[in-house]
Symmetry: C2
């Protein structure tokens, strides 16, 4: 993978030299995933490079396409190594198919760079199921983790402006033990990704009373309660759908089916409110005038609740950190995902998370 | 229950007389449930009576409290019979407790009036779990229905402005057969409550591809597909969380756990967007001025997405229609729930629904 012929030109040094990359956090980026194409990914890398001098990139994909884009970009000069990958994972590819036949894809190479230890973290806008499948097979699960999870930041009323929610779709089910691991991983993510020393953790249910809900939730309730003091988070008990955007918990724990439906419902509802807002302002001459005057306010609102600003689902529970950027991410979105990836890498998040999970394992359980 | 001593005064005739109630749709209303107290419920009845000359009420609760309120109200004169009930179901009461000890409550009497055939439909703002438990025990399930469901109208981008969603919390689980019944009941509700001759029905999942999701969803997919032509709806297949507020389906079918989390997530997200919108407009002098000018537009928006305007979860699958109004409903909210109840009663919705479910039962299955 690091053969000299893979490098785009003489000015971009091989990472094995380490000359210009030295001291920088190396981020492995899949340039070919995403609905907006490689240009949006390269532009996102450029935005990030401009703001953050401590990062550098390995960009995987069609070298003939990517090379000229990177060469033209002043912020990426000497900080981006392009590696050729002939194959591309499409949004419709089945994960099982990609795992069998996708070794030549940019997505595979992106994950492989983390597995080999060359890059600190991976970022892709591609097919979520395929990315999770490749990541699980190549990076493997952390000792003590049965199901990995995808965590996202959801806009909320709390003072940081966001809550962590997991799982939002790595798997369609979770038992009580899985939910306990999600709580531990979510708390760790809130500590390292959001700088919350003692995050509040809530378990998603259809009511806040202890007697409510499915049996695995009641069991998970007791398991999480038992770890609360040892691990140093604040378990607020059961929370409801309304708390995902609320201020009762910083971390919302649920199975991947419920979490996936919830975030898509929330996104859809926010979109509908936006649609109705635009309609309301188009209604009359006076309301059109008002919308002109309100332009700055509405822009400010849009920035606050812009999903692109918190773009990035993080795969938790693997031997390595992978950030899944939204498929439709533009340069701003890709840049947000890269910022998150860099922060997690610089906090050595995954090492801390692994240690935390290991500490909660029974002594007699020997991790493979 | 219909003893003359139960009537508030000589001007309000006994419904057994039927003199003034004749030809009117009789709605049984629980006056004591809800956070806003009986005054909001009476005000809601009054609002409805003013608009709709074809309805009359039996109001259950504390007669000493309700009597004077009803007497003072010109719209309710001769159209509202107050029945005394000493007990009140609180929001914290466990359903199982209410079923054992709640025979003297206003909620029990409200449902009982539908069971006896006196009223056409019941409305309560009280404890959802208790109302469902009383309704299930007293009205009993329709032949062929294993789990009743609660259906709500959710604001959406389709041309009617709302989608039907069920179950949103009658039960925390549903198997493939239950999901099929939900599809039949939801389609029937969309026909009679929303006047859609051929509703589009979608099954909620984490993706739209046929191979995705839990096994009971794949099974339900085939069962619903098989009924589509016979029953006369349009099965659009799997839908995602974003489609709940979208225009792909008119009826969203899911289990009560997922549905409950989804609607609460949507409500919470809409609330957060509203909060951020108000903050954005308070930001500067110019934005405050803009908000004054935009006042009418914002009011119009609020009316369009106002949950009070579509207040009312309908219990489906029982021998009788029960409408659950939101616990925090004010007069406008109660009135919306009554309007829905009246429309369903006047369309003889429950008889049609029962016939529809019966028609899909195998011939060898003899309903009890």
């Amino acid at each position: 993978m690091t053969a000299p012929t893979d490098h785009i030109d003489a000015t971009a040094p091989a990472p094995s030299d380490g000359a210009l990359f030295e001291g920088r956090t190396l981020i492995s980026v899949d340039a070919m995933g995403g609905d907006e194409g490689p240009a949006a990914v390269v532009a996102g890398c450029s935005l990030s490079a401009k703001i953050n001098p401590d990062i550098a990139f390995i960009l995987h994909g069609d070298k003939a396409l990517l090379g000229p884009m990177v060469d033209r970009d002043p912020h990426l000069a000497g900080r981006c190594d392009v590696r050729h990958a002939a194959g591309v994972v499409s949004m419709d590819d089945k994960p099982s198919h990609v795992v069998r036949t996708g070794k030549d894809t940019s997505m595979w190479a992106t994950v492989e760079s983390v597995r080999s230890g060359e890059s600190a973290v991976a970022v892709s806008c591609g097919n979520t199921g395929a990315l999770m499948a490749i990541s699980t097979i190549r990076l493997r699960k952390l000792p003590g983790v049965n199901r990995p999870a995808i965590a996202v930041l959801y806009p909320s009323a709390n003072k940081h402006g966001f809550n962590v929610m997991l799982d939002v779709g790595a798997d369609i089910r979770a038992d009580a033990e899985d939910l306990l691991r999600f709580a531990l991983m979510g708390a760790s993510y809130a500590r390292n990704g959001m700088n919350l020393p003692k995050p509040r953790v809530g378990l998603l249910n259809v009511g806040t009373e202890e007697h409510k809900g499915r049996s695995e939730l009641k069991e998970a309730y007791d398991l999480i309660r038992a770890q609360e003091i040892e691990v140093g988070f604040d378990f607020v008990g059961f929370v409801e759908g309304g708390d995902i955007s609320g201020d009762r918990a910083d971390v919302i724990v649920t199975d991947g089916f419920t979490g996936n439906v919830a975030i898509k419902t929330g996104e859809g509802t926010a979109k509908l409110v936006g649609l109705r807002l635009r309609e309301a302002f188009k209604y009359s001459v006076l309301s059109k005038l008002a919308s002109l005057l309100a332009y700055t306010s509405l822009r400010r609102l849009q920035r606050k609740i812009d999903p692109r600003r918190v773009n990035g689902g993080v795969f938790l529970g693997l031997n390595g950190t992978v950030v899944k950027s939204h498929g439709s991410a533009d340069a701003t979105g890709v840049s947000a995902a890269i910022k998150l990836a860099a922060q997690l890498a610089q906090n050595q998040f995954n090492d801390k998370l692994a240690a935390r999970i290991a500490a909660t394992l029974p002594v007699e359980e020997t991790p493979e």
